[in-house]
């Protein structure tokens, strides 16, 4: 059985919705193997699956259940989601035990339908057990019945919680027990027995069981006692928000399935504005489908978003979250006041001030804030309250507060929220671009480790003098020959110093702390303060002054015990470079000056050094052309540009173009690709250009790499079959490969170096 989950049993969303969660699913399933060592027994392991709300924790557990169930291997999965209706000891124990035994029987019989037998009396569930499991299951049920008869709730909970382990060990299997919504036990009578049962399991030595708990992460983490042994036994599996790419792919697939027209830019905006949240994204898409609207333009999306936040599925979900956190209607208003206040403040607000605004009796305010913190509707830190960072919650609260609490006059048409979001949409897209560059810079700084790198990458004027008009490929080759070098420090940590903006320019500041020279003393401590600047024009002196004003305090604050910072370096990275005056001033201050493209070159350079080889990472380009008349000319022109940039002489360029045209014609003639496209990849290596042309044809004008026989050989027809002959004659290496999807032709042309 493979990992492809052919049967959906508990899982509720498509595989696209689970995209990017493979590693978390693997990590949870791997816990089922821990302690599987035949030679010894280990303490039962406990895993905590932690992550922000709506990140997919429940679905990850369900997907793990499906995977292990379908694998029918040595691990039997159990899953139980706590419900508010079953939070008494007895209620939980009965629900839990029924479910576990039904799932065990279903697994052993490889019949998912038996999972539904949870609603049957335990005696019925017992009958579904395999003959070889019957005695173990009966033993568990009998223990449970005795505890129930004695009204020993604690024992009932213990039996229910340990049932998976007991039945699994008898069947010589490992049990993976997954329990969702564990935060619900907190504050109830069940909590004591639940945690006691877990503790008892945790001290049991068994080859057979692992428990994974999930729920609201903050209350779960806070409930772990400061016990070294417990922490030693507990595995933390963190679920972070997925990346843009995963969410955007999900959005495209889902939109296509729902028949919604979209555009790349709107999908990117959705990902950014909805903070890569699958629930919010699904809500928008389903709303678009049900209303029959498209999501091709920003305004179409923002209109739908506004409707959803004010009175749609998103609004209803957040209403429910607020009610659950607030526990009663009066507190809902207080909760809205609190969240609105901290969102409006834009900075942490003392708890007392927030509690006062909430208008609830003393003591209740802080308790309510704790619950809002548990639900991650805001943040509590050391006596201060700050926004949650969820922009959708902020929009929802702002609109609700405006419409229902302050009683602001609504517009006669349209919504204010729509106007706000349209204004923000451009800024959001810019911040997305900025975020990518910031991530790149932070990752780069983390790689600083005493390397010696070309100095021109930190001196834009010098770089321009050396390399103006030179292709990037040639620059990368020439960097090695530079005599002037900069020795990078070893960066230990990077601080975010905040951001700022002026009309037409925005910036983000960082401080990278580390050591120089490989010696870890105060004297060798160094601080790089970095300004990452995004502007439409070269940075001018006025903007530079603003940036420096923000940098100065950071420089002053970063001092050693002696009160003096040994060495500080300023590095300004500006997208559009620097004005002459700004450059002169920075040069006088011996500050480093780079552009965004220098970051790319520096990254390439460090990668090459890390690989410790003379092979430069290849530049790669991809092109997809339709199978239609003369589309191969586009490919030829592209190849010409690439080859020229890589320093190929004109004769070689002509040969490359001719060969590529023949390859495209062959691909077109022999392709049965449903998308009617030819895919090409161009990779420039140190001394060669590698062109790969792919199609979904059964052949590539060849039979096993040899030219296909032509039928009816007239002189005219025979030349038609000579495409591969031309390719082999013009290119230095030609290889034909079969792929899963079709065929691939790889052509290599070596760079002719001038003879010395």
């Amino acid at each position: 059985m493979t990992d492809l989950m052919p049967r959906k049993i508990l899982s509720q969303i498509s595989s696209a919705g689970l995209a990017g969660r493979r590693s978390e699913i693997d990590a949870v399933c791997a816990l089922a193997q821990s302690g599987a060592d035949e030679s010894d027994s280990w303490p039962v392991s406990i895993g905590l699956l932690l992550g922000p709300p709506r990140v997919g924790k429940s679905e990850i557990l369900r997907a793990c259940f499906d995977r292990l169930f379908n694998q029918q291997g040595e691990a039997v999965p159990f899953f139980h989601a706590l419900r508010r209706s079953s939070l008494t000891n007895e209620g939980f124990a009965r629900a839990c035990l029924s479910q576990f035994l039904a799932q065990f029987a279903a697994f052993r019989r490889n019949d998912p339908r038996l999972i539904e037998s949870i609603d049957h009396p335990l005696a019925t569930v017992q009958r579904f057990a395999l003959p070889e499991d019957y005695s173990a299951v009966k033993s568990v049920i009998d223990s449970f019945a005795r505890a129930a008869a004695d009204r020993d709730w604690a024992q009932m909970v213990r039996v229910a919680m340990s049932a998976p382990m007991l039945v699994a060990v008898q069947a010589r299997l490992n049990a993976l027990v997954m329990i969702d919504n564990c935060d619900l036990v907190l504050g109830t009578d069940l909590k004591a027995e639940f945690t006691a049962a877990l503790a008892a399991l945790g001290s049991t030595r068994s080859r057979s069981a692992s428990y994974v708990l999930t729920g609201l992460r903050r209350p779960l983490v806070n409930s772990i006692p400061p016990d070294q042994e417990i922490f030693g036994r507990t595995t933390l599996i963190k679920v972070e928000r997925t990346g843009d790419e995963v969410v955007e792919k999900f959005t495209r697939i889902r939109a296509q399935r729902l028949g919604i027209e979209t555009s790349d830019s709107t999908i990117e905006l959705m990902s950014e504005q909805l903070n890569r949240d699958f629930f919010y994204t699904s809500s928008i898409l389903e709303a678009a489908a049900s209303r029959g609207v498209s999501l091709k333009t920003f305004i179409e999306f923002e209109r739908l978003y506004t409707t959803e936040v004010l009175n749609g599925r998103i609004s209803h979900y957040l209403d429910a979250s607020l009610r659950e956190a607030a526990l009663d209607a009066r507190n809902v208003r207080a909760a809205l006041e609190a969240i609105a206040l901290v969102n409006e403040a834009g900075c942490p607000v003392p708890i007392d001030a927030v509690a006062e605004r909430m208008g609830v009796p003393d003591g209740e305010g802080e308790a309510l804030l704790e619950r809002l913190h548990a639900y991650e509707l805001l943040n509590l830190n050391h006596g201060f309250v700050s926004p949650s960072g969820d922009a959708v919650v902020a929009d929802y609260v702002r609109a609700k507060h405006r419409n229902e609490i302050t009683g602001a006059q609504a517009p006669v048409a349209g919504q204010e929220l729509l106007g706000e979001k349209l204004k923000q949409s451009y800024r959001l897209m810019m911040s997305r671009f900025n975020r990518a560059v910031e991530s790149q810079l932070i990752e780069l700084l983390s790689r600083f480790d005493f390397q010696s790198v070309p100095a021109s990458l930190f001196d834009q004027d010098d770089f321009e003098k050396r390399y103006r008009g030179v292709s990037r490929v040639q620059v990368r080759r020439a960097l090695d020959d530079e005599v002037n070098r900069v020795r990078l420090p070893q960066v230990v940590f990077v601080h975010d110093l905040g951001h700022g903006e002026q009309p037409g320019v925005n910036w983000r500041l960082f401080a990278a702390s580390g050591f120089e020279g490989g010696i870890y003393t105060e004297a060798n401590e160094v601080l790089w303060v970095i300004a990452l600047i995004n502007s439409k024009e070269p940075l001018d002196v006025e903007s530079l002054n603003h940036i420096d004003q923000r940098l100065e305090p950071s420089l002053r604050s970063k001092v050693g015990k002696s009160g003096v910072l040994s060495h500080a370096v300023r590095w300004y990275i500006s997208k559009e470079g620097f004005s002459a005056i700004a450059a002169e001033r920075l040069s006088g201050a011996q500050a480093y000056r780079s552009s965004y493209s220098h970051l790319d070159l520096l990254q390439d350079y460090l990668t090459r050094l890390a690989l410790s080889s003379t092979t430069r990472p290849a530049s790669e380009f991809e092109l997809v052309i339709p199978i239609e008349d003369e589309a191969e000319l586009i490919a030829a022109r592209t190849a010409e540009q690439i080859a020229r940039a890589a320093d190929f002489d004109q004769e070689s360029i002509n040969q490359i173009k001719t060969a590529l045209i023949e390859a495209c014609i062959n691909a077109a003639e022999h392709s049965d690709s449903p998308d009617r496209k030819i895919h090409q990849r161009f990779a420039i290596d140190e001394d060669k250009l590698i062109i790969t042309v792919s199609n979904r044809g059964k052949t590539f004008g060849t039979a096993n790499g040899k030219p296909a026989p032509t039928v009816g050989a007239s002189r005219g027809k025979s030349a038609r079959g000579r495409g591969l002959q031309i390719i082999r004659a013009l290119m230095d290496q030609v290889e034909f490969e079969r792929t899963d999807e079709g065929a691939r032709l790889v052509m290599i042309k070596y760079l002719k170096r001038p003879s010395s």
Binding site: D629, E630, E632, L633, A636, E651, N654, Q655, K657, T658, I661, E662, I665, R715, G716, K717, S718, A719, R720, R722, G723, Q725, I726, A729, L730
Partner: protein, 121 residues
């Protein structure tokens, strides 16, 4: 790309301009134009490759068919202004024996009257 083929009559000869890219489309148009010329009694034809940067194998095969048709009609066809890359292409395909080339259009026209001809090889 416009497949219209530019043609020029020079006394009793014709010059066909093959255009920047000789592929199947243009090749077939040249073939058609050539046939029309032959039908009109033109027996001296020059195909001027001055603008032709690229030729593909299908274009070549059609061109060979055109040469054959002209030969069968007891006419003469010369290629002119063929650049080095395209010359090498013809050579590579072993077509030297089947095509006659001249440096320039004028020389090509002269060659068709029996004057100096630069043959391949």
């Amino acid at each position: 790309m416009n497949e219209d083929i530019r043609t020029r009559l020079v006394e009793d000869a014709a010059v066909i301009y093959s255009g920047p890219y000789l592929n199947q489309l243009r090749g077939e148009r040249i073939e058609m134009v050539c046939q029309e010329l032959l039908d009109q009694g033109v027996r001296r034809i020059v195909v001027n490759f001055e603008e032709t940067e690229l030729i593909n194998s299908i274009g070549i095969s059609i061109l060979l068919g055109v040469i054959e048709s002209v030969n069968n009609a007891r006419g003469g066809l010369v290629l002119s202004n063929v650049n080095q890359s395209n010359r090498e292409l013809f050579e590579m395909l072993g077509l030297g024996a089947h095509v006659v080339m001249a440096e320039t259009e004028e020389l090509a026209l002269l060659s068709l009257t029996g004057e100096t001809v630069e043959a391949m090889g």
